[in-house]
Amino acid sequence: MATTGHAVELAGLRHVFAGRGRGRRAVHGVEAVKGVDLTVEPGEFVSIVGPSGCGKSTILKMIAGLLRPAEGAVRVWGEPVTGPRRDIGIALQDATLLPWRDVMSNCLFPVELHGKVTAEARERVTGLLERAGLAGFESRRPKELSGGMRQRVAICRALADDPRLLLLDEPFGSLDALTREQMNIDLNRIWRESGKTAILITHGIDEAVLLSTRVVILSERPGTVVEVVTPPFPKARTKELMATPEFAEVCGRIRDRLFASEQRVGG
């Protein structure tokens, strides 16, 4: 496969959610994102932050091949995206585990869809579950797990078929702050050890700074890139990092930028 070297390229991306009805009762279409340009390099961890409704999830869905952009181009590993790809793993805000399958079988779901479940795939999932602190839970059903464990299973599932690109749409959004912090540290380790490229949608500024090599700030709807911040930290992130003034400084900068864009659009 010929690649241009970029993991993901978004060029002039625009999306409009269709309106419905005609005449006076018409609901107008909503422009969700507009003129989004972004390039993600292999091995990067890029977070996209922005106010609610700025089209963050829309961008992710376009990369995943679940939505087609109204205008602009989406390329993954140099190829135009025409639909869901096998080399993308995705985890959404809800874990959406299948309740009738056990943990192992839930993780193997994408592998199954793409072909036969091999011994190698099982081994890989076993390793992933181990790294996610879920060793010994392989034959448990989702209802026997806590919310945090379910989200970790969902991330293992996203990685199960050894995708080159990991897409995460607020996978820890529904967890309490403490669990979330632990998940972030775990995710950082999993990302480092796997060497994957990852894109995370979040509205948690701390979370974005803690995890990312770059943080992309979107404006209010229609979302467009207003700034890209590069947290100046080594790849391995720790809880201690969050207590440093440097960390607070980066977070503060992003927060200011988010507020500025909101005021400009709103006022």
């Binding site: 959404l92 959406t96 009738w100 078929d161």
Partner: protein, 261 residues
């Protein structure tokens, strides 16, 4: 973090104690309270008379023979109604055109009390088991159909989106997301239908039949044998409860043993 340990054993005495006490009190009251209100022996038979009718000197042979017929009708009728309900439910759930065309008919037919069909079914299928089987099938079809259809239509959007994102085809989504998700709704339909199957079989027999619980109930009524009548009612309670428990047990077994796919 792990699943909570079941604390069921702790409450066993408390759970069953109340039931045992109430049952004992009711049986005692039944035996000692004056029940012959009209003074002609026709009101309520005493407990010991009912127990005698249930005992070795009673008519166990007749009860069992009738029960076998009735349960047979209920079983085969339910089998037909259940199978048709699942198949039609999936079809109507999957296709909007079929749903729009046929669902109003399904609703209209459901509004028709199955008992009202009994005379026609007897004319069509005769006095034997066939007419009752048809009646049971008609009565048990709709709960299964409606819950299956709802199960298909209400498949979790998030699960479908997740599978689509991983590249699942339409048929993969149907086989791996929609169908496995139907087990729970199908069982809730079945729970209703099992009760209905017993009810429809006996109701059909009461209207016209040559064998079954409905028939012996009518015979005992005609002969004023109230103790036997009550004995049959007690058997019906036990059988009805057993059927409901059986469905629950089946549901649990199926959900626990569901293959990992």
């Amino acid at each position: 973090m792990t699943a909570p340990a079941p604390a069921a054993n702790l409450g066993a005495a408390a759970r069953w104690g109340g039931l045992v006490a109430v049952t004992a009190a009711l049986l005692l009251a039944w035996q000692i309270l004056p029940s012959d209100v009209q003074g002609d022996g026709s009101s309520v038979p005493k407990l010991d008379a009912v127990l005698k009718a249930l005992g070795p000197s009673g008519e166990w042979g007749a009860y069992l023979k009738a029960l076998r017929v009735t349960l047979g009708e209920a079983f085969f009728g339910l089998l037909i109604g259940f199978a048709a309900g699942v198949v039609l439910g999936v079809l109507l759930g999957e296709s909007r055109i079929l749903r729009q065309g046929f669902y109003p008919y399904a609703l209209a037919l459901q509004a028709l009390p199955p008992i009202a069909l009994a005379p026609i079914f007897v004319i069509w299928f005769g006095l034997g088991m066939q007419s009752k089987i048809g009646l049971v099938a008609a009565a048990t079809l709709f709960p299964v159909l409606v819950s299956t259809m709802a199960g298909v239509a209400e498949t979790d959007r998030g699960r479908i989106e997740m599978a689509t994102a991983f590249g699942a085809s339409k048929s993969q989504i149907r086989l791996r997301i929609v169908f496995p998700g139907l087990v729970v709704p199908i069982f809730s339909g079945l729970e209703i239908s099992v009760v209905l199957s017993f009810l429809a079989a006996i109701a059909g027999e009461l209207i016209s039949a040559n064998a079954g619980i409905g028939v012996i109930l009518q015979v005992y009524q005609r002969d004023y044998r109230l103790a036997e009548e009550f004995a049959v009612l007690m058997i019906l309670v036990v059988v009805g409860l057993a059927l409901a428990l059986l469905v629950r047990l089946a549901r649990r077994l199926v959900l626990e043993r569901m293959p990992n796919e």
